[in-house]
Amino acid sequence: MTRTSLETVLAILREEFDELLSAWLETQKAEGVRRPDLFSDRESRRQLGELLRGLGDGIDAADDQRTLNLEAEPWAGLRAALEEVTHERVERGVSPSEMATFVLALKQPVFARLRQKLEAAPDKLIEEITEFSRLLDAVAMHTNEHFIAERDQIIERQRTEMMELSTPVVQLWDRVLTIPLIGTLDSVRAQEVMENLLNSIVEESAEVVIVDITGVRVVDTQVAQHLLRTAAAVRLMGAEAIISGISPKIAQTMVELGVDVGEVTTRPTIRAALSDAFRKVGFSIERRGDADRG
Protein backbone atom coordinates (compact mmCIF):
# COMPACT_ATOMS: atom_id res chain seq x y z
CA MET A 1 0.00 0.00 0.00
CA THR A 2 1.40 3.36 -0.91
CA ARG A 3 1.35 6.26 1.52
CA THR A 4 0.25 8.77 -1.06
CA SER A 5 -3.19 10.16 -1.80
CA LEU A 6 -2.25 10.04 -5.47
CA GLU A 7 -2.69 6.27 -5.70
CA THR A 8 -4.84 6.37 -8.82
CA VAL A 9 -2.46 8.74 -10.58
CA LEU A 10 0.39 6.45 -9.61
CA ALA A 11 -1.48 3.46 -10.98
CA ILE A 12 -2.06 5.28 -14.26
CA LEU A 13 1.60 6.26 -14.44
CA ARG A 14 2.66 2.66 -13.92
CA GLU A 15 0.05 0.73 -15.91
CA GLU A 16 -0.66 3.05 -18.81
CA PHE A 17 2.88 4.36 -19.16
CA ASP A 18 3.14 4.07 -22.95
CA GLU A 19 -0.37 5.34 -23.65
CA LEU A 20 0.12 8.28 -21.31
CA LEU A 21 3.43 9.11 -22.94
CA SER A 22 1.84 9.16 -26.38
CA ALA A 23 -1.08 11.23 -25.10
CA TRP A 24 1.32 13.71 -23.50
CA LEU A 25 3.16 14.04 -26.81
CA GLU A 26 -0.18 14.54 -28.60
CA THR A 27 -1.21 17.31 -26.21
CA GLN A 28 2.14 18.99 -26.66
CA LYS A 29 1.61 18.80 -30.40
CA ALA A 30 -1.86 20.31 -30.05
CA GLU A 31 -0.50 23.11 -27.84
CA GLY A 32 2.21 23.78 -30.39
CA VAL A 33 5.13 23.11 -28.04
CA ARG A 34 6.21 19.77 -29.45
CA ARG A 35 8.93 21.42 -31.58
CA PRO A 36 9.64 18.67 -34.11
CA ASP A 37 12.09 21.12 -35.66
CA LEU A 38 14.33 20.82 -32.61
CA PHE A 39 13.79 17.31 -31.29
CA SER A 40 13.21 14.00 -33.01
CA ASP A 41 10.25 11.82 -32.00
CA ARG A 42 12.57 9.26 -30.49
CA GLU A 43 14.44 11.77 -28.41
CA SER A 44 11.22 13.34 -27.18
CA ARG A 45 9.80 9.96 -26.20
CA ARG A 46 12.94 9.09 -24.28
CA GLN A 47 12.94 12.41 -22.43
CA LEU A 48 9.22 12.30 -21.61
CA GLY A 49 9.62 8.68 -20.51
CA GLU A 50 12.29 9.66 -18.04
CA LEU A 51 10.13 12.51 -16.75
CA LEU A 52 7.17 10.17 -16.25
CA ARG A 53 9.32 7.59 -14.51
CA GLY A 54 10.81 10.27 -12.25
CA LEU A 55 7.33 11.57 -11.50
CA GLY A 56 6.06 8.10 -10.62
CA ASP A 57 9.07 7.29 -8.44
CA GLY A 58 8.69 10.61 -6.68
CA ILE A 59 4.99 10.10 -5.93
CA ASP A 60 5.71 6.58 -4.78
CA ALA A 61 8.55 7.51 -2.46
CA ALA A 62 7.47 10.89 -1.07
CA ASP A 63 5.69 10.05 2.15
CA ASP A 64 4.06 13.36 3.02
CA GLN A 65 2.22 15.06 0.19
CA ARG A 66 1.29 18.03 2.37
CA THR A 67 4.76 19.47 2.29
CA LEU A 68 5.65 19.22 -1.33
CA ASN A 69 9.36 19.80 -1.73
CA LEU A 70 10.90 18.98 -5.06
CA GLU A 71 14.38 19.54 -3.65
CA ALA A 72 13.87 16.46 -1.42
CA GLU A 73 15.50 13.12 -2.09
CA PRO A 74 12.55 11.21 -3.64
CA TRP A 75 12.41 13.67 -6.52
CA ALA A 76 16.06 13.39 -7.52
CA GLY A 77 15.26 11.32 -10.60
CA LEU A 78 12.58 13.76 -11.75
CA ARG A 79 14.85 16.73 -11.14
CA ALA A 80 17.69 15.22 -13.15
CA ALA A 81 15.35 14.45 -16.07
CA LEU A 82 13.80 17.93 -15.89
CA GLU A 83 17.14 19.65 -15.80
CA GLU A 84 18.35 17.71 -18.82
CA VAL A 85 15.22 18.62 -20.79
CA THR A 86 15.42 22.27 -19.72
CA HIS A 87 19.12 22.50 -20.47
CA GLU A 88 18.62 21.30 -24.04
CA ARG A 89 15.71 23.60 -24.63
CA VAL A 90 17.51 26.66 -23.28
CA GLU A 91 20.44 25.88 -25.56
CA ARG A 92 18.08 25.78 -28.51
CA GLY A 93 16.28 29.00 -27.63
CA VAL A 94 12.88 27.77 -26.41
CA SER A 95 10.84 30.40 -24.53
CA PRO A 96 9.94 30.06 -20.82
CA SER A 97 6.19 29.91 -21.43
CA GLU A 98 6.70 27.19 -23.99
CA MET A 99 8.71 25.32 -21.39
CA ALA A 100 5.91 25.61 -18.81
CA THR A 101 3.26 24.51 -21.32
CA PHE A 102 5.49 21.59 -22.17
CA VAL A 103 5.19 20.32 -18.58
CA LEU A 104 1.58 21.32 -17.98
CA ALA A 105 0.45 19.47 -21.10
CA LEU A 106 0.57 16.34 -18.95
CA LYS A 107 -2.48 17.47 -16.99
CA GLN A 108 -5.01 16.90 -19.72
CA PRO A 109 -4.26 13.21 -20.45
CA VAL A 110 -3.90 12.38 -16.75
CA PHE A 111 -7.17 14.11 -15.84
CA ALA A 112 -9.01 12.32 -18.64
CA ARG A 113 -7.82 8.96 -17.34
CA LEU A 114 -8.58 9.87 -13.74
CA ARG A 115 -12.14 10.74 -14.69
CA GLN A 116 -12.61 7.37 -16.31
CA LYS A 117 -11.16 5.46 -13.37
CA LEU A 118 -12.84 7.38 -10.57
CA GLU A 119 -16.24 7.90 -12.16
CA ALA A 120 -17.86 6.31 -9.15
CA ALA A 121 -15.96 8.30 -6.55
CA PRO A 122 -16.25 12.04 -7.26
CA ASP A 123 -14.68 13.07 -3.93
CA LYS A 124 -11.59 10.99 -4.59
CA LEU A 125 -11.51 12.32 -8.16
CA ILE A 126 -11.44 15.92 -7.02
CA GLU A 127 -8.85 15.18 -4.37
CA GLU A 128 -6.50 13.52 -6.81
CA ILE A 129 -6.98 16.18 -9.46
CA THR A 130 -6.20 18.92 -6.93
CA GLU A 131 -3.19 17.05 -5.61
CA PHE A 132 -1.82 16.26 -9.03
CA SER A 133 -2.37 19.85 -10.19
CA ARG A 134 -0.42 21.07 -7.22
CA LEU A 135 2.39 18.68 -7.96
CA LEU A 136 2.57 19.49 -11.63
CA ASP A 137 2.46 23.23 -10.97
CA ALA A 138 5.41 22.83 -8.66
CA VAL A 139 7.21 20.88 -11.36
CA ALA A 140 6.50 23.63 -13.90
CA MET A 141 7.74 26.22 -11.42
CA HIS A 142 10.89 24.27 -10.79
CA THR A 143 11.40 24.00 -14.53
CA ASN A 144 11.06 27.75 -14.89
CA GLU A 145 13.49 28.45 -12.11
CA HIS A 146 15.99 26.12 -13.62
CA PHE A 147 15.34 27.68 -16.99
CA ILE A 148 16.17 31.14 -15.66
CA ALA A 149 19.28 29.89 -13.90
CA GLU A 150 20.48 28.35 -17.15
CA ARG A 151 19.83 31.57 -19.02
CA ASP A 152 21.73 33.56 -16.40
CA GLN A 153 24.65 31.26 -16.88
CA ILE A 154 24.58 31.82 -20.61
CA ILE A 155 24.42 35.59 -20.16
CA GLU A 156 27.28 35.51 -17.70
CA ARG A 157 29.36 33.43 -20.11
CA GLN A 158 28.65 35.80 -22.98
CA ARG A 159 29.54 38.76 -20.80
CA THR A 160 32.97 37.33 -19.97
CA GLU A 161 33.52 36.44 -23.59
CA MET A 162 32.63 39.97 -24.60
CA MET A 163 34.96 41.33 -21.95
CA GLU A 164 37.82 39.30 -23.32
CA LEU A 165 37.02 40.30 -26.85
CA SER A 166 36.74 43.94 -25.98
CA THR A 167 40.16 44.29 -24.39
CA PRO A 168 42.68 42.78 -26.78
CA VAL A 169 46.31 43.65 -26.21
CA VAL A 170 48.26 43.59 -29.46
CA GLN A 171 51.99 43.54 -29.91
CA LEU A 172 52.98 46.13 -32.53
CA TRP A 173 56.71 45.63 -32.35
CA ASP A 174 59.33 44.26 -29.99
CA ARG A 175 58.59 45.85 -26.62
CA VAL A 176 55.71 47.91 -28.04
CA LEU A 177 52.10 46.99 -27.20
CA THR A 178 48.82 48.62 -28.04
CA ILE A 179 45.33 48.27 -26.65
CA PRO A 180 42.64 49.76 -28.87
CA LEU A 181 39.67 50.74 -26.73
CA ILE A 182 36.23 50.71 -28.32
CA GLY A 183 32.83 51.70 -26.97
CA THR A 184 32.28 52.83 -23.41
CA LEU A 185 34.82 52.59 -20.65
CA ASP A 186 33.08 51.90 -17.34
CA SER A 187 34.82 50.92 -14.10
CA VAL A 188 34.51 47.19 -14.72
CA ARG A 189 35.99 47.43 -18.18
CA ALA A 190 38.66 49.86 -17.07
CA GLN A 191 39.73 47.33 -14.45
CA GLU A 192 39.76 44.58 -17.07
CA VAL A 193 41.80 46.76 -19.44
CA MET A 194 44.33 47.53 -16.74
CA GLU A 195 44.69 43.91 -15.71
CA ASN A 196 45.15 42.66 -19.27
CA LEU A 197 47.57 45.41 -20.09
CA LEU A 198 49.77 44.97 -17.02
CA ASN A 199 49.92 41.21 -17.46
CA SER A 200 50.87 41.63 -21.10
CA ILE A 201 53.62 44.05 -20.13
CA VAL A 202 55.16 41.32 -17.98
CA GLU A 203 54.68 38.62 -20.63
CA GLU A 204 56.13 40.62 -23.51
CA SER A 205 58.64 42.67 -21.53
CA ALA A 206 57.07 45.72 -23.11
CA GLU A 207 58.55 49.15 -22.58
CA VAL A 208 55.95 51.27 -24.36
CA VAL A 209 52.21 50.73 -24.48
CA ILE A 210 49.88 52.75 -26.64
CA VAL A 211 46.38 53.12 -25.24
CA ASP A 212 44.32 54.08 -28.27
CA ILE A 213 41.00 55.78 -27.54
CA THR A 214 39.99 56.55 -31.13
CA GLY A 215 36.98 54.26 -30.69
CA VAL A 216 35.89 55.53 -27.29
CA ARG A 217 32.62 57.35 -27.71
CA VAL A 218 32.60 59.65 -24.72
CA VAL A 219 35.46 60.89 -22.57
CA ASP A 220 34.15 62.34 -19.33
CA THR A 221 36.03 62.94 -16.09
CA GLN A 222 35.54 59.35 -15.02
CA VAL A 223 36.91 57.88 -18.25
CA ALA A 224 39.82 60.31 -18.10
CA GLN A 225 40.46 59.23 -14.51
CA HIS A 226 40.52 55.57 -15.60
CA LEU A 227 42.95 56.35 -18.40
CA LEU A 228 45.30 58.28 -16.15
CA ARG A 229 45.20 55.54 -13.54
CA THR A 230 46.07 52.98 -16.19
CA ALA A 231 48.97 55.16 -17.28
CA ALA A 232 50.15 55.48 -13.67
CA ALA A 233 50.02 51.70 -13.16
CA VAL A 234 51.91 51.15 -16.41
CA ARG A 235 54.60 53.50 -15.18
CA LEU A 236 54.84 51.66 -11.85
CA MET A 237 55.53 48.49 -13.80
CA GLY A 238 58.47 50.23 -15.44
CA ALA A 239 56.93 50.83 -18.86
CA GLU A 240 55.58 53.97 -20.44
CA ALA A 241 52.04 54.66 -21.60
CA ILE A 242 51.11 56.83 -24.54
CA ILE A 243 47.45 57.76 -24.91
CA SER A 244 46.62 58.14 -28.58
CA GLY A 245 43.51 58.95 -30.57
CA ILE A 246 42.70 62.19 -28.80
CA SER A 247 40.49 64.04 -31.24
CA PRO A 248 40.22 67.84 -31.18
CA LYS A 249 36.76 67.43 -29.66
CA ILE A 250 38.05 65.20 -26.87
CA ALA A 251 40.92 67.62 -26.21
CA GLN A 252 38.38 70.43 -25.84
CA THR A 253 36.20 68.42 -23.49
CA MET A 254 39.16 67.39 -21.38
CA VAL A 255 40.30 70.97 -20.97
CA GLU A 256 36.76 72.10 -20.19
CA LEU A 257 36.50 69.39 -17.55
CA GLY A 258 39.79 70.49 -16.08
CA VAL A 259 41.48 67.14 -16.62
CA ASP A 260 45.22 67.39 -16.10
CA VAL A 261 47.12 64.55 -17.76
CA GLY A 262 50.31 65.47 -15.91
CA GLU A 263 53.35 63.76 -17.38
CA VAL A 264 51.42 61.25 -19.45
CA THR A 265 52.26 61.49 -23.15
CA THR A 266 49.25 62.06 -25.40
CA ARG A 267 49.14 61.95 -29.19
CA PRO A 268 46.34 62.78 -31.62
CA THR A 269 46.75 59.64 -33.73
CA ILE A 270 48.03 56.13 -33.25
CA ARG A 271 50.45 56.86 -36.08
CA ALA A 272 52.09 59.67 -34.14
CA ALA A 273 52.16 57.48 -31.04
CA LEU A 274 53.80 54.63 -32.95
CA SER A 275 56.63 56.76 -34.30
CA ASP A 276 57.12 58.03 -30.76
CA ALA A 277 57.21 54.48 -29.45
CA PHE A 278 59.75 53.46 -32.11
CA ARG A 279 62.05 56.24 -31.05
CA LYS A 280 61.78 55.22 -27.42
CA VAL A 281 62.73 51.60 -28.07
CA GLY A 282 65.51 52.61 -30.46
CA PHE A 283 64.04 52.02 -33.91
CA SER A 284 63.49 54.45 -36.73
CA ILE A 285 61.44 54.30 -39.91
CA GLU A 286 63.07 55.49 -43.12
CA ARG A 287 61.80 55.91 -46.65
CA ARG A 288 63.84 53.85 -49.11
CA GLY A 289 65.68 55.98 -51.64
CA ASP A 290 64.17 54.24 -54.67
CA ALA A 291 60.59 54.29 -53.37
CA ASP A 292 57.90 55.88 -55.48
CA ARG A 293 56.93 59.24 -54.26
CA GLY A 294 53.16 59.18 -54.06
Binding site: Q191, N199, I201, S205, A233, R235, L236, G238
Partner: protein, 120 residues
Protein backbone atom coordinates in the same frame (compact mmCIF):
# COMPACT_ATOMS: atom_id res chain seq x y z
CA UNK B 1 68.32 42.34 8.68
CA UNK B 2 70.29 40.31 6.18
CA UNK B 3 67.33 37.96 5.80
CA UNK B 4 64.75 40.65 5.14
CA UNK B 5 66.55 41.98 2.08
CA UNK B 6 69.81 41.32 0.33
CA UNK B 7 71.97 44.26 -0.71
CA UNK B 8 74.84 43.97 -3.18
CA UNK B 9 77.11 46.59 -4.66
CA UNK B 10 77.77 46.16 -8.38
CA UNK B 11 79.68 48.83 -10.31
CA UNK B 12 78.63 51.67 -8.02
CA UNK B 13 75.01 50.54 -8.03
CA UNK B 14 73.36 49.12 -4.93
CA UNK B 15 71.12 46.20 -5.82
CA UNK B 16 68.43 45.57 -3.23
CA UNK B 17 66.19 42.51 -3.37
CA UNK B 18 63.32 42.68 -0.87
CA UNK B 19 61.98 39.39 0.48
CA UNK B 20 58.27 38.75 0.35
CA UNK B 21 57.37 38.84 4.05
CA UNK B 22 59.44 41.83 5.12
CA UNK B 23 58.09 43.50 8.26
CA UNK B 24 57.58 47.20 8.84
CA UNK B 25 60.51 47.34 11.27
CA UNK B 26 62.78 45.53 8.85
CA UNK B 27 61.99 47.89 6.02
CA UNK B 28 62.68 50.88 8.28
CA UNK B 29 66.05 49.33 9.16
CA UNK B 30 66.69 48.75 5.48
CA UNK B 31 66.12 52.43 4.81
CA UNK B 32 68.75 53.30 7.38
CA UNK B 33 71.26 50.74 6.15
CA UNK B 34 70.81 51.90 2.57
CA UNK B 35 71.44 55.55 3.31
CA UNK B 36 74.62 54.59 5.17
CA UNK B 37 75.84 52.38 2.36
CA UNK B 38 75.09 54.90 -0.40
CA UNK B 39 77.46 57.31 1.29
CA UNK B 40 80.03 54.69 2.35
CA UNK B 41 80.29 53.07 -1.07
CA UNK B 42 79.76 56.23 -3.10
CA UNK B 43 76.89 54.58 -4.97
CA UNK B 44 75.36 56.49 -7.88
CA UNK B 45 72.36 54.24 -8.33
CA UNK B 46 69.99 52.14 -6.24
CA UNK B 47 67.86 49.40 -7.79
CA UNK B 48 65.13 48.00 -5.54
CA UNK B 49 63.70 44.72 -6.77
CA UNK B 50 60.22 44.15 -5.36
CA UNK B 51 59.29 41.19 -7.58
CA UNK B 52 58.90 39.04 -4.46
CA UNK B 53 56.35 41.37 -2.88
CA UNK B 54 52.81 40.14 -3.38
CA UNK B 55 51.27 42.83 -1.22
CA UNK B 56 52.34 46.44 -0.89
CA UNK B 57 50.41 48.54 1.57
CA UNK B 58 50.49 52.29 2.07
CA UNK B 59 53.29 51.97 4.61
CA UNK B 60 55.64 50.06 2.33
CA UNK B 61 54.62 52.32 -0.55
CA UNK B 62 55.54 55.38 1.47
CA UNK B 63 58.86 53.92 2.57
CA UNK B 64 59.70 53.14 -1.06
CA UNK B 65 58.93 56.73 -2.01
CA UNK B 66 61.01 58.03 0.91
CA UNK B 67 63.91 55.77 -0.05
CA UNK B 68 63.95 57.37 -3.48
CA UNK B 69 63.87 60.93 -2.17
CA UNK B 70 66.58 60.12 0.34
CA UNK B 71 68.81 58.51 -2.28
CA UNK B 72 68.38 61.51 -4.54
CA UNK B 73 69.59 63.80 -1.74
CA UNK B 74 72.66 61.59 -1.54
CA UNK B 75 73.20 61.89 -5.32
CA UNK B 76 71.98 58.40 -6.24
CA UNK B 77 69.19 57.60 -8.71
CA UNK B 78 66.62 55.04 -7.53
CA UNK B 79 64.80 52.53 -9.70
CA UNK B 80 61.96 50.40 -8.39
CA UNK B 81 61.82 47.26 -10.54
CA UNK B 82 59.84 44.06 -10.92
CA UNK B 83 56.52 45.29 -9.58
CA UNK B 84 53.71 42.79 -10.07
CA UNK B 85 50.57 43.83 -11.95
CA UNK B 86 48.38 43.30 -8.89
CA UNK B 87 50.69 45.44 -6.77
CA UNK B 88 50.71 48.21 -9.38
CA UNK B 89 46.91 48.21 -9.46
CA UNK B 90 46.68 48.35 -5.67
CA UNK B 91 49.12 51.23 -5.42
CA UNK B 92 47.24 53.22 -8.05
CA UNK B 93 44.01 52.42 -6.22
CA UNK B 94 45.61 53.78 -3.03
CA UNK B 95 46.64 56.91 -4.90
CA UNK B 96 50.36 56.22 -4.56
CA UNK B 97 52.10 56.59 -7.89
CA UNK B 98 55.70 56.70 -6.54
CA UNK B 99 56.18 59.77 -8.70
CA UNK B 100 59.51 60.45 -7.02
CA UNK B 101 61.17 57.23 -8.10
CA UNK B 102 61.92 55.83 -11.50
CA UNK B 103 60.63 52.45 -12.48
CA UNK B 104 61.81 49.69 -14.79
CA UNK B 105 60.53 46.30 -15.83
CA UNK B 106 63.46 44.34 -14.45
CA UNK B 107 66.90 44.64 -12.96
CA UNK B 108 68.60 44.50 -16.36
CA UNK B 109 66.35 47.22 -17.74
CA UNK B 110 67.23 49.46 -14.81
CA UNK B 111 70.95 48.78 -15.16
CA UNK B 112 70.78 49.57 -18.87
CA UNK B 113 69.18 52.92 -18.15
CA UNK B 114 71.61 53.74 -15.37
CA UNK B 115 74.46 52.97 -17.79
CA UNK B 116 72.86 55.13 -20.45
CA UNK B 117 72.78 58.00 -17.98
CA UNK B 118 76.41 57.35 -17.08
CA UNK B 119 75.64 56.36 -13.51
CA UNK B 120 76.81 52.76 -13.63
Amino acid sequence: MAEAASVYLVERVLLVAIRDNITDTEIMNLQEELSDRIVAEGARGVVIDIAALEIVDTFVGRVLAQLSSMARLLAAETYVVGMRPAVAMTLVELGMDLSGSKTALSLSHALRRLRRDGLA
